[in-house]
Symmetry: C2
Subunit: 305 residues, 2 copies
Protein backbone atom coordinates (compact mmCIF):
# COMPACT_ATOMS: atom_id res chain seq x y z
CA UNK A 1 0.00 0.00 0.00
CA UNK A 2 1.27 3.45 -1.03
CA UNK A 3 0.04 6.60 0.73
CA UNK A 4 -0.29 9.86 -1.20
CA UNK A 5 -0.92 13.12 0.68
CA UNK A 6 -2.76 16.00 -1.05
CA UNK A 7 -3.30 18.79 1.46
CA UNK A 8 -4.87 21.04 -1.19
CA UNK A 9 -7.13 18.61 -3.07
CA UNK A 10 -9.13 20.09 -5.93
CA UNK A 11 -12.10 19.55 -8.15
CA UNK A 12 -10.51 19.97 -11.60
CA UNK A 13 -12.99 21.38 -14.14
CA UNK A 14 -12.09 21.66 -17.83
CA UNK A 15 -14.12 23.80 -20.23
CA UNK A 16 -13.73 23.77 -23.99
CA UNK A 17 -14.63 27.11 -25.62
CA UNK A 18 -14.40 28.36 -29.22
CA UNK A 19 -11.97 31.15 -28.37
CA UNK A 20 -11.49 32.85 -24.98
CA UNK A 21 -11.88 36.62 -25.27
CA UNK A 22 -11.65 38.67 -22.05
CA UNK A 23 -14.76 40.71 -21.10
CA UNK A 24 -17.12 38.68 -23.30
CA UNK A 25 -19.51 35.80 -22.61
CA UNK A 26 -18.73 32.18 -23.57
CA UNK A 27 -20.71 28.96 -23.69
CA UNK A 28 -18.65 25.91 -22.75
CA UNK A 29 -19.13 23.26 -25.44
CA UNK A 30 -17.69 20.55 -23.18
CA UNK A 31 -17.44 20.24 -19.40
CA UNK A 32 -15.19 17.60 -17.78
CA UNK A 33 -14.90 17.24 -14.00
CA UNK A 34 -12.32 15.13 -12.14
CA UNK A 35 -10.69 14.76 -8.71
CA UNK A 36 -7.53 16.87 -8.77
CA UNK A 37 -4.50 17.98 -6.84
CA UNK A 38 -1.10 16.38 -7.45
CA UNK A 39 -1.37 13.57 -4.88
CA UNK A 40 -4.77 12.46 -6.20
CA UNK A 41 -3.38 12.42 -9.75
CA UNK A 42 -0.43 10.28 -8.57
CA UNK A 43 -2.86 7.94 -6.79
CA UNK A 44 -5.06 7.52 -9.88
CA UNK A 45 -2.02 6.60 -11.98
CA UNK A 46 -0.86 4.12 -9.30
CA UNK A 47 -4.32 2.55 -9.12
CA UNK A 48 -4.43 2.24 -12.92
CA UNK A 49 -1.07 0.41 -12.72
CA UNK A 50 -2.67 -2.09 -10.33
CA UNK A 51 -1.22 -0.78 -7.07
CA UNK A 52 -3.20 -0.38 -3.87
CA UNK A 53 -3.12 3.23 -2.79
CA UNK A 54 -4.56 5.26 0.08
CA UNK A 55 -5.16 9.00 -0.33
CA UNK A 56 -5.26 11.48 2.50
CA UNK A 57 -5.38 15.27 2.81
CA UNK A 58 -8.46 17.44 3.21
CA UNK A 59 -11.98 17.45 1.78
CA UNK A 60 -14.77 19.96 2.41
CA UNK A 61 -18.10 21.23 1.09
CA UNK A 62 -19.97 20.25 -2.06
CA UNK A 63 -16.75 20.33 -4.12
CA UNK A 64 -15.11 17.93 -1.64
CA UNK A 65 -18.07 15.56 -1.97
CA UNK A 66 -17.72 15.70 -5.77
CA UNK A 67 -14.01 14.85 -5.43
CA UNK A 68 -14.83 11.91 -3.16
CA UNK A 69 -17.59 10.71 -5.52
CA UNK A 70 -14.96 10.69 -8.28
CA UNK A 71 -12.55 8.66 -6.13
CA UNK A 72 -15.05 5.91 -5.27
CA UNK A 73 -15.07 5.02 -8.97
CA UNK A 74 -11.32 4.16 -8.85
CA UNK A 75 -10.68 0.45 -8.07
CA UNK A 76 -7.83 -0.15 -5.58
CA UNK A 77 -8.00 3.38 -4.17
CA UNK A 78 -8.85 3.92 -0.47
CA UNK A 79 -10.24 7.36 0.48
CA UNK A 80 -8.80 8.50 3.86
CA UNK A 81 -9.38 12.25 3.32
CA UNK A 82 -9.98 14.25 6.49
CA UNK A 83 -13.07 16.53 6.59
CA UNK A 84 -12.71 20.31 6.93
CA UNK A 85 -15.36 23.02 7.17
CA UNK A 86 -14.11 25.13 4.24
CA UNK A 87 -14.89 23.91 0.72
CA UNK A 88 -12.31 22.03 -1.38
CA UNK A 89 -11.01 24.40 -4.09
CA UNK A 90 -11.92 24.26 -7.76
CA UNK A 91 -9.43 24.67 -10.58
CA UNK A 92 -10.83 25.77 -13.93
CA UNK A 93 -8.93 25.04 -17.15
CA UNK A 94 -10.36 26.81 -20.19
CA UNK A 95 -9.16 25.13 -23.38
CA UNK A 96 -9.31 27.33 -26.46
CA UNK A 97 -10.47 25.27 -29.45
CA UNK A 98 -9.01 27.68 -31.96
CA UNK A 99 -5.47 28.05 -30.58
CA UNK A 100 -5.28 24.97 -28.30
CA UNK A 101 -4.04 27.24 -25.48
CA UNK A 102 -5.21 26.74 -21.89
CA UNK A 103 -6.19 29.47 -19.42
CA UNK A 104 -6.09 28.41 -15.77
CA UNK A 105 -8.14 29.82 -12.86
CA UNK A 106 -7.29 28.42 -9.42
CA UNK A 107 -9.18 28.95 -6.17
CA UNK A 108 -6.94 29.31 -3.09
CA UNK A 109 -8.48 26.39 -1.14
CA UNK A 110 -10.16 26.19 2.28
CA UNK A 111 -8.60 27.79 5.35
CA UNK A 112 -7.58 24.90 7.59
CA UNK A 113 -8.06 25.55 11.33
CA UNK A 114 -5.52 24.40 13.96
CA UNK A 115 -8.01 21.74 15.17
CA UNK A 116 -8.42 20.42 11.61
CA UNK A 117 -4.63 20.35 11.13
CA UNK A 118 -4.27 18.34 14.38
CA UNK A 119 -6.95 15.90 13.19
CA UNK A 120 -4.99 15.42 9.95
CA UNK A 121 -1.71 14.82 11.80
CA UNK A 122 -3.40 12.16 13.92
CA UNK A 123 -4.87 10.43 10.83
CA UNK A 124 -1.46 10.59 9.07
CA UNK A 125 0.35 9.10 12.07
CA UNK A 126 -2.17 6.25 12.11
CA UNK A 127 -1.74 5.55 8.38
CA UNK A 128 2.05 5.78 7.97
CA UNK A 129 3.17 2.63 9.86
CA UNK A 130 1.17 0.32 7.57
CA UNK A 131 2.30 1.71 4.19
CA UNK A 132 5.39 0.97 2.11
CA UNK A 133 5.95 4.50 0.75
CA UNK A 134 4.59 8.03 1.20
CA UNK A 135 4.29 10.77 -1.45
CA UNK A 136 3.73 14.36 -0.25
CA UNK A 137 2.38 16.38 -3.16
CA UNK A 138 1.38 19.90 -4.06
CA UNK A 139 0.70 23.26 -2.45
CA UNK A 140 -0.43 23.96 1.11
CA UNK A 141 -3.91 25.41 1.66
CA UNK A 142 -4.25 28.56 3.81
CA UNK A 143 -3.84 27.83 7.54
CA UNK A 144 -1.46 24.88 7.18
CA UNK A 145 1.96 25.73 8.68
CA UNK A 146 4.61 26.36 6.03
CA UNK A 147 6.87 23.76 7.67
CA UNK A 148 4.13 21.10 7.36
CA UNK A 149 6.01 18.83 4.95
CA UNK A 150 9.15 18.80 7.10
CA UNK A 151 7.10 17.37 9.98
CA UNK A 152 5.37 14.80 7.77
CA UNK A 153 8.75 13.68 6.38
CA UNK A 154 10.16 13.22 9.90
CA UNK A 155 7.12 11.13 10.91
CA UNK A 156 7.57 8.84 7.87
CA UNK A 157 11.32 8.49 8.39
CA UNK A 158 10.83 7.69 12.09
CA UNK A 159 8.53 4.83 10.97
CA UNK A 160 11.12 3.64 8.45
CA UNK A 161 8.89 4.47 5.47
CA UNK A 162 10.52 6.06 2.39
CA UNK A 163 9.06 9.44 1.44
CA UNK A 164 8.92 11.44 -1.82
CA UNK A 165 8.32 15.22 -1.83
CA UNK A 166 6.85 17.16 -4.77
CA UNK A 167 6.02 20.77 -3.90
CA UNK A 168 7.20 24.33 -4.51
CA UNK A 169 8.32 27.58 -2.90
CA UNK A 170 8.83 27.84 0.84
CA UNK A 171 7.11 24.47 1.51
CA UNK A 172 9.80 22.87 -0.71
CA UNK A 173 12.65 24.80 0.92
CA UNK A 174 11.53 23.74 4.41
CA UNK A 175 10.67 20.21 3.31
CA UNK A 176 14.00 19.34 1.68
CA UNK A 177 15.84 20.14 4.92
CA UNK A 178 13.97 17.26 6.58
CA UNK A 179 15.80 14.86 4.23
CA UNK A 180 13.16 13.20 2.01
CA UNK A 181 14.28 10.05 0.13
CA UNK A 182 13.27 11.50 -3.25
CA UNK A 183 12.67 15.11 -4.25
CA UNK A 184 10.79 15.65 -7.55
CA UNK A 185 10.92 19.35 -8.54
CA UNK A 186 10.20 20.71 -12.03
CA UNK A 187 12.61 23.14 -13.69
CA UNK A 188 10.95 26.28 -12.23
CA UNK A 189 10.74 24.86 -8.70
CA UNK A 190 14.37 23.74 -8.87
CA UNK A 191 15.51 27.18 -10.05
CA UNK A 192 13.50 28.90 -7.31
CA UNK A 193 14.98 26.58 -4.66
CA UNK A 194 18.60 26.82 -5.74
CA UNK A 195 18.82 30.12 -7.63
CA UNK A 196 20.42 28.26 -10.55
CA UNK A 197 18.87 27.79 -14.00
CA UNK A 198 21.55 25.22 -14.92
CA UNK A 199 19.71 21.89 -14.28
CA UNK A 200 22.72 19.68 -13.44
CA UNK A 201 24.19 22.18 -11.00
CA UNK A 202 20.74 22.94 -9.51
CA UNK A 203 19.93 19.22 -9.08
CA UNK A 204 23.25 18.69 -7.29
CA UNK A 205 22.60 21.74 -5.10
CA UNK A 206 19.09 20.47 -4.21
CA UNK A 207 20.63 17.16 -3.17
CA UNK A 208 23.13 18.93 -0.94
CA UNK A 209 20.22 20.65 0.81
CA UNK A 210 19.11 17.29 2.20
CA UNK A 211 17.34 15.06 -0.38
CA UNK A 212 18.76 11.55 -0.76
CA UNK A 213 17.89 11.60 -4.48
CA UNK A 214 16.67 14.44 -6.69
CA UNK A 215 14.74 13.77 -9.89
CA UNK A 216 14.04 16.96 -11.83
CA UNK A 217 11.30 16.90 -14.49
CA UNK A 218 12.37 19.11 -17.38
CA UNK A 219 9.31 18.96 -19.66
CA UNK A 220 10.27 17.85 -23.18
CA UNK A 221 13.87 17.44 -21.88
CA UNK A 222 12.81 14.39 -19.81
CA UNK A 223 14.14 13.63 -16.32
CA UNK A 224 17.48 14.48 -14.74
CA UNK A 225 18.35 12.35 -11.68
CA UNK A 226 21.03 12.83 -9.04
CA UNK A 227 21.08 9.77 -6.76
CA UNK A 228 23.44 7.87 -4.42
CA UNK A 229 23.91 5.33 -7.26
CA UNK A 230 24.81 7.91 -9.91
CA UNK A 231 23.54 10.68 -12.19
CA UNK A 232 21.36 10.04 -15.25
CA UNK A 233 19.46 11.87 -17.93
CA UNK A 234 16.37 9.98 -19.20
CA UNK A 235 14.58 10.94 -22.42
CA UNK A 236 11.58 9.52 -24.35
CA UNK A 237 12.39 8.36 -27.92
CA UNK A 238 10.36 11.24 -29.42
CA UNK A 239 8.87 14.36 -27.80
CA UNK A 240 5.16 13.79 -27.08
CA UNK A 241 2.53 16.37 -28.02
CA UNK A 242 -0.55 16.90 -25.89
CA UNK A 243 -1.52 18.10 -22.42
CA UNK A 244 1.53 18.46 -20.10
CA UNK A 245 -0.68 18.86 -16.98
CA UNK A 246 -0.19 15.77 -14.83
CA UNK A 247 2.99 14.60 -16.61
CA UNK A 248 5.01 15.27 -13.44
CA UNK A 249 2.45 13.39 -11.33
CA UNK A 250 2.73 10.36 -13.64
CA UNK A 251 6.52 10.53 -13.25
CA UNK A 252 6.08 10.49 -9.45
CA UNK A 253 3.89 7.38 -9.75
CA UNK A 254 6.62 5.72 -11.86
CA UNK A 255 9.33 6.59 -9.31
CA UNK A 256 7.23 5.19 -6.45
CA UNK A 257 6.53 1.86 -8.17
CA UNK A 258 10.23 1.58 -9.12
CA UNK A 259 11.15 2.19 -5.48
CA UNK A 260 8.74 -0.51 -4.25
CA UNK A 261 9.96 -2.96 -6.91
CA UNK A 262 13.55 -2.16 -5.80
CA UNK A 263 14.55 -1.47 -9.41
CA UNK A 264 17.98 0.02 -10.13
CA UNK A 265 17.73 3.80 -10.73
CA UNK A 266 18.03 3.66 -14.56
CA UNK A 267 15.01 1.31 -14.69
CA UNK A 268 13.01 3.53 -12.34
CA UNK A 269 13.73 6.51 -14.60
CA UNK A 270 12.71 4.53 -17.70
CA UNK A 271 9.36 3.76 -16.11
CA UNK A 272 8.86 7.37 -14.93
CA UNK A 273 9.70 8.85 -18.34
CA UNK A 274 7.44 6.40 -20.20
CA UNK A 275 4.53 7.12 -17.82
CA UNK A 276 5.12 10.84 -18.02
CA UNK A 277 5.13 10.81 -21.83
CA UNK A 278 2.01 8.60 -21.86
CA UNK A 279 0.30 11.12 -19.55
CA UNK A 280 1.01 13.92 -22.04
CA UNK A 281 -0.89 11.88 -24.64
CA UNK A 282 -3.93 11.69 -22.33
CA UNK A 283 -6.43 14.59 -22.19
CA UNK A 284 -6.65 14.75 -18.35
CA UNK A 285 -4.20 14.86 -15.44
CA UNK A 286 -4.10 11.60 -13.42
CA UNK A 287 -4.60 9.50 -16.55
CA UNK A 288 -2.22 8.02 -19.12
CA UNK A 289 -2.40 6.24 -22.44
CA UNK A 290 -1.55 2.60 -21.67
CA UNK A 291 -0.51 1.64 -25.21
CA UNK A 292 1.82 4.66 -25.43
CA UNK A 293 3.27 3.70 -22.03
CA UNK A 294 3.97 0.09 -23.00
CA UNK A 295 5.38 1.06 -26.40
CA UNK A 296 7.65 3.73 -24.93
CA UNK A 297 9.20 1.53 -22.21
CA UNK A 298 11.65 -0.04 -24.70
CA UNK A 299 12.54 3.29 -26.31
CA UNK A 300 13.51 5.49 -23.35
CA UNK A 301 17.21 6.40 -23.37
CA UNK A 302 19.01 6.67 -20.03
CA UNK A 303 22.52 8.13 -20.20
CA UNK A 304 25.02 9.09 -17.53
CA UNK A 305 24.79 12.81 -16.78
CA UNK B 1 -47.46 33.28 -2.78
CA UNK B 2 -45.58 33.97 -6.02
CA UNK B 3 -44.14 31.10 -8.10
CA UNK B 4 -40.94 31.60 -10.08
CA UNK B 5 -39.83 28.96 -12.59
CA UNK B 6 -36.12 28.53 -13.43
CA UNK B 7 -35.71 25.56 -15.75
CA UNK B 8 -31.96 26.18 -16.09
CA UNK B 9 -30.96 26.95 -12.48
CA UNK B 10 -27.27 27.66 -11.92
CA UNK B 11 -24.58 27.83 -9.32
CA UNK B 12 -23.17 31.32 -9.96
CA UNK B 13 -19.47 31.54 -9.12
CA UNK B 14 -17.61 34.86 -9.18
CA UNK B 15 -13.81 35.03 -9.22
CA UNK B 16 -11.81 38.20 -8.72
CA UNK B 17 -8.41 38.14 -10.50
CA UNK B 18 -5.69 40.78 -10.95
CA UNK B 19 -6.00 40.80 -14.75
CA UNK B 20 -7.30 38.00 -17.00
CA UNK B 21 -4.76 37.06 -19.65
CA UNK B 22 -5.62 34.14 -21.99
CA UNK B 23 -3.24 31.15 -21.89
CA UNK B 24 -1.77 32.02 -18.50
CA UNK B 25 -2.48 30.83 -14.94
CA UNK B 26 -4.43 32.92 -12.41
CA UNK B 27 -5.07 32.68 -8.69
CA UNK B 28 -8.56 33.90 -7.70
CA UNK B 29 -8.18 36.40 -4.84
CA UNK B 30 -11.89 36.13 -4.00
CA UNK B 31 -14.47 33.40 -4.61
CA UNK B 32 -18.20 34.08 -4.19
CA UNK B 33 -20.83 31.38 -4.78
CA UNK B 34 -24.60 31.93 -4.99
CA UNK B 35 -27.78 30.27 -6.29
CA UNK B 36 -28.36 31.61 -9.80
CA UNK B 37 -30.56 31.55 -12.83
CA UNK B 38 -33.03 34.39 -13.50
CA UNK B 39 -36.01 32.92 -11.63
CA UNK B 40 -33.95 32.28 -8.49
CA UNK B 41 -32.63 35.86 -8.62
CA UNK B 42 -36.21 37.16 -8.92
CA UNK B 43 -37.25 34.97 -5.98
CA UNK B 44 -34.42 36.21 -3.76
CA UNK B 45 -35.40 39.84 -4.45
CA UNK B 46 -39.06 39.03 -3.73
CA UNK B 47 -38.14 37.29 -0.47
CA UNK B 48 -35.98 40.27 0.57
CA UNK B 49 -39.03 42.50 -0.05
CA UNK B 50 -41.00 40.34 2.43
CA UNK B 51 -43.00 38.29 -0.09
CA UNK B 52 -43.59 34.57 0.17
CA UNK B 53 -42.20 32.87 -2.91
CA UNK B 54 -41.94 29.29 -4.18
CA UNK B 55 -39.22 28.35 -6.66
CA UNK B 56 -39.42 25.46 -9.08
CA UNK B 57 -37.37 24.20 -12.01
CA UNK B 58 -34.63 21.57 -11.97
CA UNK B 59 -31.81 20.66 -9.59
CA UNK B 60 -29.17 17.94 -10.02
CA UNK B 61 -25.79 16.76 -8.79
CA UNK B 62 -23.40 18.39 -6.32
CA UNK B 63 -23.94 21.83 -7.92
CA UNK B 64 -27.71 21.42 -7.47
CA UNK B 65 -27.19 20.56 -3.79
CA UNK B 66 -25.05 23.70 -3.41
CA UNK B 67 -27.82 25.79 -5.02
CA UNK B 68 -30.40 24.27 -2.65
CA UNK B 69 -28.13 24.84 0.37
CA UNK B 70 -27.97 28.51 -0.66
CA UNK B 71 -31.77 28.71 -0.90
CA UNK B 72 -32.46 27.28 2.58
CA UNK B 73 -30.75 30.40 3.98
CA UNK B 74 -33.43 32.67 2.41
CA UNK B 75 -36.40 33.33 4.77
CA UNK B 76 -39.83 33.18 3.08
CA UNK B 77 -38.55 31.09 0.14
CA UNK B 78 -39.96 27.61 -0.47
CA UNK B 79 -37.78 25.19 -2.52
CA UNK B 80 -39.95 23.11 -4.88
CA UNK B 81 -37.16 22.26 -7.36
CA UNK B 82 -37.57 18.94 -9.17
CA UNK B 83 -34.59 16.50 -9.14
CA UNK B 84 -32.83 15.51 -12.37
CA UNK B 85 -29.92 13.12 -12.94
CA UNK B 86 -27.70 15.62 -14.79
CA UNK B 87 -25.84 18.22 -12.72
CA UNK B 88 -27.09 21.80 -12.39
CA UNK B 89 -24.86 24.06 -14.52
CA UNK B 90 -22.22 26.44 -13.20
CA UNK B 91 -21.72 29.97 -14.46
CA UNK B 92 -18.29 31.50 -13.87
CA UNK B 93 -17.87 35.29 -13.83
CA UNK B 94 -14.23 36.40 -13.81
CA UNK B 95 -13.98 40.00 -12.62
CA UNK B 96 -10.81 41.77 -13.69
CA UNK B 97 -9.54 43.97 -10.83
CA UNK B 98 -7.49 46.17 -13.12
CA UNK B 99 -10.13 47.02 -15.76
CA UNK B 100 -13.33 46.12 -13.88
CA UNK B 101 -14.43 44.05 -16.92
CA UNK B 102 -16.17 40.69 -16.50
CA UNK B 103 -15.52 37.52 -18.52
CA UNK B 104 -18.35 34.99 -18.42
CA UNK B 105 -18.12 31.19 -18.84
CA UNK B 106 -21.46 29.34 -18.89
CA UNK B 107 -22.04 25.60 -18.76
CA UNK B 108 -24.94 24.38 -20.95
CA UNK B 109 -26.93 22.72 -18.13
CA UNK B 110 -28.13 19.14 -17.61
CA UNK B 111 -29.92 17.24 -20.36
CA UNK B 112 -33.49 16.79 -19.12
CA UNK B 113 -35.08 13.45 -20.03
CA UNK B 114 -38.74 13.15 -21.17
CA UNK B 115 -39.57 11.43 -17.83
CA UNK B 116 -37.97 14.30 -15.88
CA UNK B 117 -39.85 16.86 -17.98
CA UNK B 118 -43.16 15.05 -17.25
CA UNK B 119 -42.33 15.06 -13.52
CA UNK B 120 -41.76 18.82 -13.71
CA UNK B 121 -45.06 19.41 -15.54
CA UNK B 122 -46.89 17.46 -12.84
CA UNK B 123 -45.22 19.46 -10.05
CA UNK B 124 -45.98 22.74 -11.89
CA UNK B 125 -49.66 21.82 -12.35
CA UNK B 126 -49.91 21.05 -8.63
CA UNK B 127 -48.30 24.39 -7.65
CA UNK B 128 -50.07 26.82 -10.00
CA UNK B 129 -53.64 26.78 -8.57
CA UNK B 130 -52.47 27.99 -5.14
CA UNK B 131 -50.28 30.93 -6.26
CA UNK B 132 -51.21 34.51 -7.15
CA UNK B 133 -48.67 35.00 -9.98
CA UNK B 134 -46.16 32.99 -12.01
CA UNK B 135 -42.84 34.20 -13.47
CA UNK B 136 -41.18 32.05 -16.17
CA UNK B 137 -37.54 33.04 -16.38
CA UNK B 138 -34.41 32.29 -18.37
CA UNK B 139 -33.09 29.80 -20.89
CA UNK B 140 -34.18 26.19 -21.44
CA UNK B 141 -31.71 23.38 -20.60
CA UNK B 142 -31.00 20.73 -23.26
CA UNK B 143 -33.88 18.24 -23.63
CA UNK B 144 -36.69 20.63 -22.67
CA UNK B 145 -39.02 21.22 -25.67
CA UNK B 146 -38.57 24.66 -27.23
CA UNK B 147 -42.31 25.31 -26.86
CA UNK B 148 -42.12 24.67 -23.10
CA UNK B 149 -43.02 28.19 -21.98
CA UNK B 150 -46.07 28.32 -24.25
CA UNK B 151 -47.46 25.25 -22.45
CA UNK B 152 -46.64 26.62 -18.99
CA UNK B 153 -48.35 29.93 -19.86
CA UNK B 154 -51.50 28.11 -21.01
CA UNK B 155 -51.62 26.10 -17.76
CA UNK B 156 -51.36 29.31 -15.67
CA UNK B 157 -53.97 31.14 -17.72
CA UNK B 158 -56.37 28.18 -17.49
CA UNK B 159 -56.04 28.43 -13.68
CA UNK B 160 -56.70 32.20 -13.84
CA UNK B 161 -53.16 33.02 -12.59
CA UNK B 162 -51.32 35.96 -14.22
CA UNK B 163 -48.01 35.03 -15.81
CA UNK B 164 -44.84 36.98 -16.67
CA UNK B 165 -42.32 35.69 -19.28
CA UNK B 166 -38.62 36.67 -19.35
CA UNK B 167 -36.62 34.59 -21.83
CA UNK B 168 -34.89 34.88 -25.21
CA UNK B 169 -34.61 33.45 -28.73
CA UNK B 170 -36.97 30.75 -29.94
CA UNK B 171 -38.34 30.09 -26.41
CA UNK B 172 -39.43 33.76 -26.32
CA UNK B 173 -40.90 33.64 -29.85
CA UNK B 174 -42.97 30.53 -29.01
CA UNK B 175 -43.86 31.79 -25.54
CA UNK B 176 -45.25 35.19 -26.53
CA UNK B 177 -47.76 33.53 -28.87
CA UNK B 178 -49.35 31.87 -25.81
CA UNK B 179 -50.33 35.38 -24.57
CA UNK B 180 -48.48 35.99 -21.30
CA UNK B 181 -49.79 38.88 -19.17
CA UNK B 182 -46.39 40.58 -19.05
CA UNK B 183 -43.36 40.11 -21.33
CA UNK B 184 -40.04 41.47 -20.00
CA UNK B 185 -37.40 41.39 -22.77
CA UNK B 186 -34.15 43.37 -22.76
CA UNK B 187 -33.10 45.44 -25.78
CA UNK B 188 -31.24 42.56 -27.51
CA UNK B 189 -34.05 40.03 -26.94
CA UNK B 190 -36.62 42.53 -28.19
CA UNK B 191 -34.59 43.25 -31.35
CA UNK B 192 -34.11 39.53 -31.99
CA UNK B 193 -37.85 38.89 -31.57
CA UNK B 194 -39.09 41.76 -33.72
CA UNK B 195 -36.21 42.52 -36.08
CA UNK B 196 -36.41 46.19 -35.03
CA UNK B 197 -33.75 48.11 -33.08
CA UNK B 198 -36.17 51.01 -32.49
CA UNK B 199 -37.42 50.28 -28.93
CA UNK B 200 -40.87 51.92 -29.15
CA UNK B 201 -41.70 50.23 -32.44
CA UNK B 202 -40.26 46.90 -31.25
CA UNK B 203 -42.19 47.01 -27.95
CA UNK B 204 -45.42 47.68 -29.86
CA UNK B 205 -44.63 44.83 -32.27
CA UNK B 206 -43.93 42.42 -29.34
CA UNK B 207 -47.32 43.32 -27.87
CA UNK B 208 -49.03 42.57 -31.19
CA UNK B 209 -47.47 39.10 -31.10
CA UNK B 210 -49.59 38.24 -28.07
CA UNK B 211 -48.34 39.79 -24.79
CA UNK B 212 -50.93 41.79 -22.83
CA UNK B 213 -48.18 44.17 -21.65
CA UNK B 214 -44.55 44.49 -22.73
CA UNK B 215 -41.94 46.04 -20.43
CA UNK B 216 -38.56 46.36 -22.15
CA UNK B 217 -35.48 46.86 -19.97
CA UNK B 218 -33.09 49.19 -21.80
CA UNK B 219 -30.09 49.24 -19.43
CA UNK B 220 -29.17 52.82 -18.47
CA UNK B 221 -32.20 53.97 -20.53
CA UNK B 222 -34.59 52.53 -17.92
CA UNK B 223 -37.85 50.73 -18.78
CA UNK B 224 -40.18 51.21 -21.72
CA UNK B 225 -43.71 49.86 -21.15
CA UNK B 226 -46.50 49.23 -23.63
CA UNK B 227 -49.65 48.24 -21.67
CA UNK B 228 -53.46 48.24 -22.05
CA UNK B 229 -53.48 51.38 -19.81
CA UNK B 230 -50.93 53.30 -21.88
CA UNK B 231 -47.28 53.67 -22.86
CA UNK B 232 -44.58 54.94 -20.49
CA UNK B 233 -40.87 55.49 -20.25
CA UNK B 234 -39.47 55.18 -16.71
CA UNK B 235 -35.97 56.41 -15.76
CA UNK B 236 -33.97 56.56 -12.51
CA UNK B 237 -32.95 60.10 -11.42
CA UNK B 238 -29.26 59.38 -12.18
CA UNK B 239 -27.61 56.46 -14.02
CA UNK B 240 -26.29 53.92 -11.50
CA UNK B 241 -22.78 52.52 -11.77
CA UNK B 242 -22.02 48.95 -10.76
CA UNK B 243 -22.87 45.40 -11.77
CA UNK B 244 -25.75 45.26 -14.31
CA UNK B 245 -26.14 41.44 -13.90
CA UNK B 246 -29.48 40.82 -12.18
CA UNK B 247 -30.87 44.32 -12.82
CA UNK B 248 -33.51 42.83 -15.15
CA UNK B 249 -34.40 40.19 -12.54
CA UNK B 250 -34.92 42.90 -9.91
CA UNK B 251 -37.18 44.75 -12.38
CA UNK B 252 -39.22 41.53 -12.80
CA UNK B 253 -39.60 41.29 -9.01
CA UNK B 254 -40.83 44.91 -8.94
CA UNK B 255 -43.36 44.26 -11.72
CA UNK B 256 -44.70 41.17 -9.91
CA UNK B 257 -45.21 42.95 -6.58
CA UNK B 258 -46.86 45.88 -8.40
CA UNK B 259 -49.20 43.42 -10.10
CA UNK B 260 -50.13 41.75 -6.78
CA UNK B 261 -50.64 45.13 -5.09
CA UNK B 262 -52.84 46.16 -8.06
CA UNK B 263 -50.85 49.35 -8.52
CA UNK B 264 -51.48 51.51 -11.59
CA UNK B 265 -48.81 50.90 -14.27
CA UNK B 266 -46.77 54.08 -13.62
CA UNK B 267 -46.37 53.05 -9.95
CA UNK B 268 -45.37 49.50 -10.96
CA UNK B 269 -42.72 50.95 -13.29
CA UNK B 270 -41.43 53.27 -10.54
CA UNK B 271 -40.95 50.28 -8.25
CA UNK B 272 -39.32 48.19 -10.99
CA UNK B 273 -36.88 50.96 -12.00
CA UNK B 274 -35.91 51.72 -8.39
CA UNK B 275 -35.30 48.02 -7.66
CA UNK B 276 -33.37 47.58 -10.89
CA UNK B 277 -31.12 50.58 -10.14
CA UNK B 278 -30.62 49.35 -6.55
CA UNK B 279 -29.60 45.94 -7.94
CA UNK B 280 -26.91 47.58 -10.09
CA UNK B 281 -25.47 49.03 -6.88
CA UNK B 282 -25.23 45.54 -5.34
CA UNK B 283 -22.27 43.27 -6.14
CA UNK B 284 -24.34 40.11 -6.87
CA UNK B 285 -27.39 39.22 -8.95
CA UNK B 286 -30.52 38.51 -6.85
CA UNK B 287 -29.57 41.19 -4.33
CA UNK B 288 -30.22 44.94 -4.09
CA UNK B 289 -29.15 47.86 -1.97
CA UNK B 290 -32.17 48.66 0.20
CA UNK B 291 -31.20 52.26 1.01
CA UNK B 292 -30.63 53.00 -2.69
CA UNK B 293 -34.02 51.43 -3.45
CA UNK B 294 -35.91 53.50 -0.88
CA UNK B 295 -34.11 56.71 -1.83
CA UNK B 296 -34.72 56.19 -5.55
CA UNK B 297 -38.48 55.52 -5.26
CA UNK B 298 -39.27 59.27 -5.01
CA UNK B 299 -36.89 60.19 -7.84
CA UNK B 300 -37.95 57.89 -10.69
CA UNK B 301 -39.49 59.81 -13.61
CA UNK B 302 -42.34 58.16 -15.53
CA UNK B 303 -43.37 59.97 -18.72
CA UNK B 304 -45.82 59.08 -21.49
CA UNK B 305 -43.98 57.45 -24.40
Amino acid sequence: MILTVTLNTALDITYRVRSLRPHTSHRATEVVERPGGKGLNVARVLAALGHEVTVTGFTGGATGRAVQDGLTAVPGLVDALVPVTGPTRRTIAVVDERSGGTTQLNEPGPTVTPTEWSAFLEAYEDLVPSVSAVALCGSLPPGVPVGAYAGLIRTAKAAGVPVLLDTSGEALRRGVAARPDILKPNADELAELTGSHEPLRATQDARRRGARAVVASLGTQGLLAFTPEGRWHALPPTPQHGNPTGAGDAAVAGLLTGLLDQLPWPDRLTRAVALSAAAVRSPAAGEFDRTTYENLLAGVSVTAA
